[in-house]
Assembly symmetry: C2
Homo-oligomer: 218 residues x 2
DNA sequence: CGCCAACAGATTGTCGACAATCTGTTGGCA
DNA sequence: TGCCAACAGATTGTCGACAATCTGTTGGCG
C-alpha cells in the first residue's frame, strides 16, 4: 500500500475515460473551469488528446456525481452552485462525514491502515500554519480517504468520494479560515485514532456545520 | 406536474443511454439480472436495439451509482451484495432517509406538492393489506420521490435516488414483511404531512434500522 | 505425465464518419 | 420598422469498423 492517495497508475493501462473525469475535476479545482461554463466535447477531445467516446463517458460519470449537467441535445455544462445550494449540500455532507468519523473510530482497533490516517494528520498539521490551497485540499482528501478506508463501508466510501468533489465546489471564499479548518480536521483525525466514536462524530459534524453557518451568513 | 414518478417521456426524444441505464435497473428489479452476472456489451446492444456507445455510457453511469463494477479490459458485472454489505449500505440509507423525512416535514408548510406525497401515501395504504412486490416497490419509490421533491435539496434528491436503487438490491427475503413496511412508510408520510420534523425523522430512521437489524440476524 | 508457449475466439477500447438537432443570422414581407 | 421563415454553422447523437487485450485451448517439450 504505497500511496495513500487515490490510485493513479503512473503510465500504464488507464481506463482513459476515468482519467478524463478525474482531469476535469482537477481542472475545476485549479479554476480552469468556471461554474456554468459549457463543456464542448470537441474541445475536451483536443485538450486531452482522446476521442469523443472517452469524453462522453467521462461526462456521463460526472453527471451522476453531480458535477455537470447534461441537457439532451445541448451538451454539458458545469453545474452552477449557489451559496444556498452549497449550504444544502453541506447538510448531507455533515451526516456522511459524521458517520465516517464515528465508524472509523469504532473500527480503529480492528487494524487496517492507521498509517494512512496518521499520514493525513501529519499533512494537515503541516497546513495548520499556512499552506497553499492545493496542499490543504490534498491533505483533506487524504483524510477523507483514510477515514473511508478504515470505516470499511463500501457505500459510505462511494458517497464520501462524491462528497469530496462537491466540498471543493462550495469553496466560496474560505481562504482565511483554511488554517483553522486544517487544525479542526487534524483534531478529528486524532479523535478517530483514539477510538473516541461519539466525540469524533460530534466534532466532524460541528466542523461541517460551522462551514455551513458561515456560508449562510453571506 | 402530471406524473409523480420519475419522468419518462412516453415515446419522444429520449436520451437513450439514460433509458438503457433505467432499463437495466428495471431488469435487476425484475430479477432478470442476477448479482455477479456479467454484462456483455454486445448482448445489451441486441437486447435494447442500440449501439455500443449508448450501452457503454449507461454502464459508466451505473458504475458511479454503484450498481455495476467495471474492470478495465474485462467488462462490467452486476455488483454482488452480501447481507453484510447490505447492512452497511442501510447505515447510510438510514441517515439520508431520516434527513429527507425531517427536511420534508419542516418544509411541508412552504407549499410545494403535498399532492404527490398524499398520492404516495394512498398507494402505500393500498399495499398495506397485500400487494404484488412491484406495486410496493413503486409506491415506495413514489414516497421517496415526494419527500425529495418537498425537501427541495438537490444533493439529497440525487443521493436518495441512488439509494432507492440499492434498497431494492438489498431485498434478501422480506416478502413476509412487505405489508408491515408499507404501513410504516405510510405512517412516516403522514408524519411529514403533519409537519412533525423530529418524529418523522425518528420513525424513518427506526424503519431503516429495523430492516438492518433483521438483515444482520441472517 | 505435467508444464509452458503459441494460438483462436471472444470482448473491450478507440477512432472516424454521418445523421439529427439546436443556435444565431439573414432575408423577405406586411 | 418589426416580425416570421429559411438557412448556415456548430454541436450532439448514433453507428460501424479496426486495434488492443483477455480467456480458454491446443500442441510441443522436458
Amino acid at each position: 500500500m504505497p500511496s495513500p492517495t487515490t490510485i493513479a497508475q503512473k503510465s500504464a493501462a488507464l481506463p482513459s475515460s476515468e482519467e478524463i473525469a478525474r482531469a476535469i475535476v482537477q481542472g475545476l479545482e485549479a479554476g480552469e473551469f468556471a461554474p456554468g461554463q459549457r463543456l464542448v466535447e470537441a474541445d475536451l477531445c483536443l485538450r486531452f488528446g482522446v476521442g469523443r467516446q472517452a469524453v462522453r463517458e467521462a461526462l456521463q460519470r460526472l453527471k451522476m456525481v453531480g458535477v455537470v449537467d447534461i441537457v439532451p441535445n445541448r451538451g454539458a455544462h458545469i453545474l452552477h452552485m449557489t451559496p444556498e445550494q452549497a449550504a444544502l449540500t453541506l447538510e448531507v455532507t455533515e451526516l456522511l462525514f459524521g458517520l465516517a468519523a464515528r465508524t472509523a473510530a469504532r473500527r480503529i482497533a480492528a487494524g487496517s491502515g492507521t498509517a494512512t490516517l496518521e499520514h493525513a494528520i501529519g499533512e494537515l498539521d503541516a497546513c495548520a500554519d499556512g499552506a497553499a490551497a492545493g496542499d490543504y485540499m490534498r491533505a483533506r482528501r487524504h483524510l477523507f480517504g483514510a477515514l473511508a478506508q478504515i470505516a470499511d463501508n463500501p457505500e459510505l466510501t462511494r458517497l464520501l468520494d462524491q462528497t469530496r468533489v462537491h466540498v471543493l465546489r462550495g469553496q466560496f471564499g474560505f481562504a482565511g479560515l483554511r488554517q483553522d479548518h486544517a487544525r479542526e480536521l487534524a483534531a478529528i483525525g486524532r479523535l478517530v485514532l483514539a477510538g473516541q466514536c461519539a466525540e469524533a462524530e460530534a466534532q466532524a459534524r460541528a466542523h461541517v456545520e460551522r462551514i455551513r453557518l458561515h456560508l449562510e451568513r453571506i
